[in-house]
Point group: C2
Chain length 307, copies 2
């Protein structure tokens, strides 16, 4: 039973579920028509992403554990970016029958351990046969009684601040794409993002008016806030953290690189931002857009169909 | 702008969202990091399925509208089979850039209209590029204060009853697979299941001890109840509805055919079952299994890796 095809659907599910303990938010876990997850707020935050082999991950660049961590992270970060606490994940796994069983089990390990960082569980899902590996991850979360932090709340006069790493995953991906070696920290950052999940609820406590997780690139994602709120976001390149280890294209990676899942938000000017947040600009009255040192940036981040 | 690649990710999303009105259960719809859905019960029912082109649907056999209806139906039926009311759907769409834009828009129409049958909305999702069309659908629902109808609740002495069509989708698929023509009703049943969604909450009101939606085949799915509850389920073939239009293999389709999404449940013997439910057998003490006229049925339904 070394491949998932040899195991068959039901044994595969049994093996996966055995590695996925259920936390206190799960009223009913895998094994029924649907899971039942606690939603004490009376609302549930829900988001879903697809990850396609060859496009969102490569098995020769990343092991299954890291792919699981990353797949979980990008969805959990979306929940946290609403100011919510993640509670559960659902995993859809489409894979060829010759996929090693151990690959699927290590994937589950990665999902489980990323979830454990925030107290969430992998509570359900689906496995199907397909010519190519595709992961569909849904994350749920609880707002704990507060308002969701949407993109449209940014107001002229707010400051723009960021928490978490920027540019690392992009610089690591560039190294891998060029077949070059480089700082292990960059390669690791591509393989396994480390979203500062606590930044979501923290931003709400700090009075954030808008919040987003940086998945497609800082300028592009702040552009979504600008569009939703109808405001102009002005960034100061000198205020951006551009570590030397990102290499000569560091500022470019910081402005346009995705997948680090830093959190970028807008805050009233008098918000008491702690040192974990870096002020990188301000919000002005429209027209909607993002400028860096007063100029628009051409060619932002990532369009899933055009790139 | 005739393909989704020409439209690009953001225009595609905009066009999709324009066709997806948001119902009263949606506190925050598409356009942010995550959706926010009402969960008045304080718990949320959640389920997710993957549908892969060539395996779960064929574009030469089914149009995008029907594929959307079917993708929504199988997930909404899972929610209803917990005794819950569906509230929202998330759609993950992976597709090649040369996919016609109109195909994607008609898919959304199908999802929307199936959701409308139960008062749910398509509240979010993701679109990505992939060599093959894959749909990832997540459905959420609300239990309305009642207990979830799980598989493990069946008790010896219960009756087994079914509501909805059995065997139609399977008979239709057989016609299509053999390249034969046949009753339009069978072909339609394969293309667009009609789950009797109200059967879920109704079963709970009728005191059902267990409920499942028949997606893989009656015997196989009742087997899940038998396994979860540790009971023997005894079916009477003479009690099964086997319409003449299913053809000579009718009983086989009824026992093993999936995808009609009828609801099969177990009820206390004195449950006041209305005429929409057909009693087809009874629950006995173990060993866990399903027998038809006293004999086990070989080769049940559908294993997603082995079939």
């Amino acid at each position: 039973m070394s491949t998932i095809g040899e195991a068959g659907e039901f044994a595969l599910i049994e093996r996966l579920v055995a590695r996925l303990p259920q936390g206190p938010s799960v009223a009913l876990g895998p094994g029924d028509d649907a899971a039942v997850i606690a939603a004490p707020d009376g609302r549930v935050v829900a988001t879903s992403d697809l990850l396609v082999e060859g496009r969102h991950f490569r098995r020769d660049w990343s092991g299954p554990y890291d792919i699981g961590r990353k797949a979980a992270a990008q969805n959990l970060a979306d929940v946290a970016a609403m100011g919510a606490r993640p509670t559960a994940l659902l995993l859809g796994l489409a894979a060829p029958p010759d996929t090693p069983l151990d690959w699927a089990l290590r994937l589950a390990d990665g999902l489980r351990e990323e979830c454990a960082l925030v107290g969430a569980s992998v509570a359900g899902g689906d496995v199907v046969r397909a010519p190519q590996i595709t992961l569909a991850v849904t994350a749920l979360g609880d707002l704990g009684g507060g308002p969701p932090l949407t993109r449209s709340g940014a107001r002229p006069g707010d400051v723009v601040a960021v928490r978490g790493r920027l540019g690392y995953a992009s610089a690591g991906l560039a190294l891998l794409s060029e077949g070059r070696d480089g700082p292990a920290g960059l390669l690791d950052a591509h393989r396994r993002p480390r979203p500062p999940y606590e930044a979501g609820p923290q931003a709400r406590e700090l009075g954030a008016t808008a919040l987003i997780d940086v998945s497609d690139g800082l300028v592009q994602d702040l552009g979504h806030i600008a569009d939703a709120a109808g405001v102009l976001i002005e960034l100061d390149s000198a205020a951006l953290p551009v570590p030397a280890e990102l290499g000569p294209g560091g500022l470019h990676h910081v402005l346009t690189g995705g997948d680090d899942h830093a959190f970028a938000g807008t805050f009233p000017p008098d918000a008491p931002l702690p040192g974990s947040w870096t002020v990188i600009g301000r919000v002005a009255a429209g027209p909607a857009g993002v400028v860096v040192d007063g100029r628009p940036l051409q060619a932002g981040g990532w369009d899933h169909f055009r790139s």
